[in-house]
């Protein structure tokens, strides 16, 4: 009975973690998510800034691409149920994230692939290929934003 109870508690905790988060932590989850995206955004800007120089350094781009590539797989964990527009906390996350989980997952996977691609390509020092890979990465960001991020600030 005791063991069963522990198992039950364990199961319900797992269910809670899988299906949603407690109200008190919704704000924290959203805050952490926004900080994470800002990290990605800052690296993205650093890459774009570098490309605006007369002689862009692929090494600088590579270093920032690594930051994005490290964060990209974590995106999957940034959207527990209950942290959408109904949460009562300001967020641009659309309800579609949870309505079309397969599409959202695909966009995340595309981001991971594109970020790794940029890391690989920028490591070779080929500027033209790096530019193309930056464009590819930007497209995955945009694709997901178009479907799953509310536009107005």
């Amino acid at each position: 009975m005791v063991r069963m109870g522990k198992l039950g508690l364990g199961l319900s905790l797992a269910a809670l973690a899988a299906t949603g988060v407690m109200a008190a932590t919704v704000g924290q989850v959203i805050d952490a998510r926004q900080k994470g995206y800002k990290e990605i955004g800052k690296s993205m800007k650093a890459i774009a800034d570098e490309l605006k120089n007369s002689a862009p350094s692929t090494a600088v781009i590579n270093a920032n691409a690594k930051v994005i590539a490290n964060l990209a797989p974590k995106v999957a964990g940034w959207f527990p149920k209950g942290t959408g527009p109904q949460a009562g906390v300001k967020t641009h996350a659309k309800a579609e994230i949870w309505q079309k989980p397969a599409d959202f997952k695909k966009d995340q996977a595309d981001l991971v692939v594109a970020a790794r691609q940029l890391v690989t390509v920028s490591a070779t020092g080929n500027l033209d290929a790096t530019k193309a890979a930056v464009g590819g990465l930007g497209k995955t960001c945009k694709a997901c934003h178009d479907s799953f991020r509310a536009k107005d600030d």
Binding site: Y37, K38, I40, G41, K42, M44, K45, A48, D49, E50, K52, N53, G138, C141, K142, H145, D146, R149, D153
Partner: protein
Amino acid sequence: MVDARAARVRLWDWPVRIVHWSFVALVPGLWLTFRAGNMNLHERLGFVMLGLVLFRIYWGFVGSSTARFASFVKGPVSVATYIRGLFGKAGEPVVGHNALGGWSVVVLLSLLAIQVGLGLFAQDTDGIVSGPLTHYVSYDAADTARDWHELVFNILLVFIGLHLAAILFYAVVKRDNLVADDRRRQAVRRAGRRAQLRAAVASARRGGDQCRRRLLDRDRRAAVVRHCVGERYAAFRAASLPSLSIHSTAAAAWIAVVS
């Protein structure tokens, strides 16, 4: 008859017209390219806008009389007097911008300058697309520039709305079509001179030699006016021809830089 050549001296010079109607095309164009997510074209159109705004400011110092800021930016007393007269009986049509309209030009042009300036430093969400000068500012500053770029666009819309409302007000209430340009205005002025002449002719017929002499004086004065207007027109042409080549060179250089 009095000043047939004066009719050829336009109220608004060609650069002013081209710049104004380009703004009319560019503002919706810039909005549409943004909505469609075509930021590449948005940026290119933004460069055209920047060039035109800079040119218009420059032209405000060297352009023809009605294009110059010095000719239409009036002090608060003139503006107040003009506003008081606005709701009274119809007065003489103003040649060029009126005291209030002059400030409308200043506000609209300033807003366009601020807007296009902000665009240079703005980036979209997460820095995916960014203006050409964003590498000079921080991530947060580029985000702020975007927020202001949105805000100033809305302010611009308000003033464009006011601009259109004013045109409608003049057309309906003042019965003065500001859009159907200077032709009517020149006609009004010509008609005024013709009426003066007719009155002179009529009084000459009624009266004797004295009045005829006055009529001759008037005719001579008209000839002088005609001569002066012609001279000024010739001077304008002479001044604008060499500067035309300077400006087209500058425009070509601008296109080369941004493309």
